[in-house]
Symmetry: C2
Subunit: 652 residues, 2 copies
């Protein structure tokens, strides 16, 4: 813990000409303050009113031994806070067997903050915690006092814009106030992601990979039922093959990473790393497919791909390397290809709606948004209400015969006639996980839908002084055993070095759908207390009906997450018909459904006219479920006769 | 099929100044000859005695309609063959409803080959097939006759040394005669591998990936029981980090592939592709590990790695990109690390012995062979009797505290004392599949152990003329249903465009452990005929006891493969004590067990003294199970006092 502390107070003191011993003293204090706390904070001490105080953040939840009434009795300074602030502050403290609360609190004085309109983060912080003002720093008091009577604020470490290496576990930003930073923080503090020292690359930690594996198990079994077989093609592509399909390579060329050296030797020919595998695979489709009996050929691979993008790398959503599956199939007829495109799209819908609890729209992409080299692209589109941006969830492409022509994938049919195959390709990636975080996460951290959560339920013992601690621990273990036997992914957090409160916050941060608390009262009544992560609802459950009730609650959480997400998404939909309405709605971060003439130039024009800091608007998809389009309806952008309803907006 | 034919006869004719119409005529003939045959051959016609006749290869199994007696009656030329040759040839033909056999045979004349000592491939071919001599080429007879009365031999396509793109389905080489080419051919024709247009990279086809997935399912579940968690770290490493551990980078530097460009832009700093992930991961271990409660940290990833090797790329065994799992764990104590090294090694033994039916030796690597940067390396070592080479099956390394020192992976123990972690890393790769092919494969193709075979059993209908074809097909479907319900991976090959014989050969090539044939007699007797891939044994099984018997047979096949492999391996072991014996044994492709002084310089010296075309000998491992080492035993190489028994030999 020592290594992570950064004590600005000491630096400030040093700045003011104090001797270096301040550093040691501050560290000692900081270590005391952060002992056994959640979130284990990087402690900063800023002089009130200094510019750095803008980074004042988050909450400190000390572990403590005293029962609540005693805490209150000791917390003399509470009179300086409003009732609301005091309640908030208190509610973040949870009773546990540790003396540090009282000791700590004696050295602090809580005062209401001055309202500072100019500093949003300040307000934000107040809202989270109430403000803690320190005017007596044990161990450094003389120094602090000498520094001119200034007041120092202790807070967990403020973040610079680029979160890279140093991260605490608490959230410094709220989802509504600063979505981008909240997102970066929640994926890190929820232990899904670790930032990596190469920009745009991220470490996927077990908490993320477990979600990926659950989706993979589902999808892999489904495509195997469809007779798709898994294979693995090389990571590398030779330039000649990569460039064979012109539209395709135009789409990917700027993002291709090239290997030019091995050891100390230059390669004779640079070799590309696959951005996608159409050109890697199709020369061999040409070889393997001779007659109609070789069709359909249905292959899939689970692999990594590399797209060296430069704009806004974002964990899961836009990274230079990501994991995905890519299916590549070839058929004798267009009808078969068309059918499969939609079968796969339905599986993608299922992943989003039934696993990740995220509502998506199935539809077709515009000409401009069609996969490079493909015939048409279908997708499931999700929407992030906080940013007002659409996000392409997964795509199922019909490639037509374009690649077949370039790669000479021909076959002879039953009648001995030569023909070209019809091809599809389809993929979903680790982006799914990012969308899930964005849609469901809240200011306490991740919120995982039960179906994809590695851990659906965490059991936490809540021992009180003089209570039957062993009995409580035994009940926790028994509860986990009962639930595990019933197929529920449950664990108990029996660590004795963390308070129940720390554990609550920890598992809330990690998004575990259901928490079960077992304390003395529960033990006495043969019950447990269940607390839902999605809405905080608490229910006492008799241990007699444990499995049924827990199963029911998990189902309800899954459904509720979807319902709430759908309600929020639907509330953002704006159906409109004119350019003026369009511009207004775009400014309001709406998901716009508008009649369109379906002309490529018009979409280009919309893009050009909406360019700006926030990025241009574009078509998201033409939903398969079309509202009625009355005769004579005009395109919102061109005024020409409209052909269809299409979703528009900014997008990731 | 047309596109794959290559008719050397025509080329020869053209060489001799004949007009180009010969080509068309030859093609027509070749198409007739290969109609519905297995293996679908690339037809070559070589003038007898020409240098190209050395490529004469393999068998032609025509599909045919006539019952066996009729075949024989029509096969006038049989008198030219010895009884043995005739039996061999005949046994490769299987009765089926197709007229082509008689038509084909009428145009052929079978004669015994002249013995040509100078040409090994010629003998090989005779052994496989008997020799078919054509003196009457329908459609090209004038031309052939005009070319000087020469005799032309038809055969399936001969292979050049580098098999790359053009491959038929039959095997041109035998395992004993030309192991290297046999191996290249069997992985391709068994549809595990397709050669790729970048040297050293291979396409892993579904037949190989299914084996990988079965092993993965086992291993992944086992390590999860050990509380190892899956994660995914980036493919890319920055040079600074890669070079942090000096011994480690020295070991890998010559093989590292470097990305230096993205799109058209040069990267500011070249970025390496992971050859293994120690240096990728450990900076983050340093970050994540603070106190003893963060230990043990046990992570694993399933991923691809790249080692740009230049020597002898071989599918599965030595490829520039391969798939593996890499486990990386950190412990508070050396004892825990030591224990895990052996737990993992036991899982690797299990993969080899219990899944792949390959005997391995557990042991410790010499100083010289220890993992770059590690403390000690344990491995499971397999042996390939045909080449007399050992092969490192999988490795479980204890890294000691070397990486911990370089990457500052420190923690505070219960007493508040600072310490460094002890680390392990361990991996097995797709190499496992190559070892399996090498050990079990035979001249008919792959031989898959039932436990890893995607398809454990193939059911083939054998309809006769006037038999109840529908009844037979129904029985096949019912048989598969019964077996599938019992958890056996079974399918029926009901294709109506291939003869039973073609199917037999096809599934033999692919190594399916058990074949079930159902013909009219079987239908009448409510039985099936089971044919084992490993030893060809045929058994009639009552359908009443189908599941039990099949399960029993699969178990026996699994066991028999292991027993035979062990017997062959054990037969190669040579226990010896002197340098002279060593040199002799090495020449005899033995697996040598010799007393050794365990000095690094001595191993270097052994390497230097055995250098040659075949590669130098080296220590393979010091087996954990040590024979008694009598007092005063001398090292076989240095004459110094021996410390241990160690396995030596050439290796992959």
């Amino acid at each position: 813990m020592y290594g992570e502390l950064e004590v600005k107070g000491a630096e400030l003191a040093a700045d003011e000409g104090r001797n270096a011993a301040a550093l040691a003293a501050c560290r000692t204090l900081a270590e005391e303050l952060t002992e056994l706390q959640f979130p284990a904070p990087r402690i900063l001490a800023f002089k009130e009113g200094s510019s750095e105080s803008r980074y004042f953040v988050s909450r400190l939840i000390p572990a403590h031994k005293d029962p609540p009434y005693k805490q209150e009795a000791n917390f003399h300074s509470s009179k300086h806070l409003t009732t609301e602030q005091w309640t908030k502050l208190k509610s973040s403290f949870v009773h546990f067997d540790d003396p540090s609360f009282c000791e700590w609190i004696r050295n602090l004085k809580v005062v209401p903050p001055e309202k500072r309109r100019s500093c949003r983060r300040w307000d934000l912080n107040i809202d989270l915690l109430g403000v803690i003002e320190v005017d007596d720093m044990a161990g450094v008091e003389q120094r602090q006092n000498k520094s001119g009577g200034g007041k120092y604020f202790f807070c967990s470490g403020g973040k610079k814009k680029e979160v890279k290496k140093e991260t605490g576990l608490g959230l410094s930003f709220t989802k509504d106030e600063n979505f981008g930073e909240w997102y970066s923080e929640v994926v890190v503090n929820g232990e899904m992601i670790e930032y990596y020292d190469i920009s745009g690359c991220y470490i996927l930690r077990p908490w993320a990979i477990s979600i990926w594996e659950i989706m993979q198990t589902f999808f892999d079994a489904e495509i195997k039922k469809m007779k798709v077989k898994n294979c693995y093609f090389p990571l590398f592509v030779s330039p000649g093959v990569l460039q064979k399909e012109k539209d395709h390579i135009e789409g990917f060329a700027p993002e291709v990473a090239w290997v030019t050296k091995s050891g100390e030797s230059e390669l004779e020919v640079p070799i590309a790393i696959r951005p996608t595998s159409e050109t890697v695979m199709y020369p061999y489709y040409s070889k393997w497919i001779r007659g109609h009996r070789d069709l359909p050929l249905k292959l899939n691979q689970w692999c990594n791909v590399v797209r060296w993008e430069f704009s806004n790398p974002t964990p899961f959503i836009r990274s230079r390397e990501f994991l995905w599956q890519e299916g590549h199939t070839a058929f004798a007829t267009k009808e078969e290809a068309d059918t499969e495109v939609l079968q796969i799209l339905e599986l993608y819908r299922c992943i989003y709606e039934e696993f990740l609890a995220i509502p998506v729209t199935k539809g077709r992409k515009s000409e401009l948004e069609t996969f490079a080299g493909g015939l048409y692209t279908t997708s499931v589109e999700a929407f992030i209400p906080n940013t007002g941006r659409g996000i392409q969830g997964a795509t199922s492409h019909c490639l037509g015969q374009n690649f077949a022509k370039m790669f000479e994938i021909n076959f002879e049919n039953e009648k001995g006639e030569k023909g070209m195959v019809w091809q599809n390709s389809w993929a979903y990636s680790t982006r799914t996980i990012g969308v899930m975080v964005m849609v469901h996460g809240d200011d306490k951290g991740l919120v995982l839908p039960p179906k994809v959560a590695a851990l659906q339920l965490i059991v936490i013992p809540v021992p009180y002084k003089d209570a039957d601690t062993q009995g409580i621990f035994d009940a926790c273990v028994a509860t986990v055993a009962t639930l595990s036997d019933a197929g529920i992914r449950a664990e108990a957090d029996l660590r004795d070095n963390y308070s129940p409160g720390w554990k609550y916050s920890n598992w809330e941060m990690k998004g575990v759908p259901l928490r079960i608390e077992i304390g003395p009262r529960d033990l006495a009544n043969n019950q447990v207390r269940a607390v839902r992560r999605d809405n905080g609802a608490k229910t006492d459950i008799s241990r007699v009906f444990l499995v049924e009730q827990v199963k029911g609650m998990l189902d309800k959480i899954q459904q509720n997450l979807f319902d709430v997400a759908k309600q929020k998404r639907d509330a953002c939909v704006e159906v409109l018909k004119t350019w003026e309405e369009f511009v207004t709605a775009l400014g309001q971060k709406k998901l716009i459904l508008a009649p369109w003439c379906d002309e490529e130039d018009v979409e280009k024009d919309v893009k050009a006219r909406t360019k700006g800091d926030m990025g241009a608007a574009k078509s998201l998809c033409t939903p398969f479920e079309q509202p009625e389009l009355p005769e004579g309806t005009k395109c919102f952008a061109s005024g020409k006769p409209a052909k269809k309803w299409t979703y528009w907006g900014r997008s990731y």
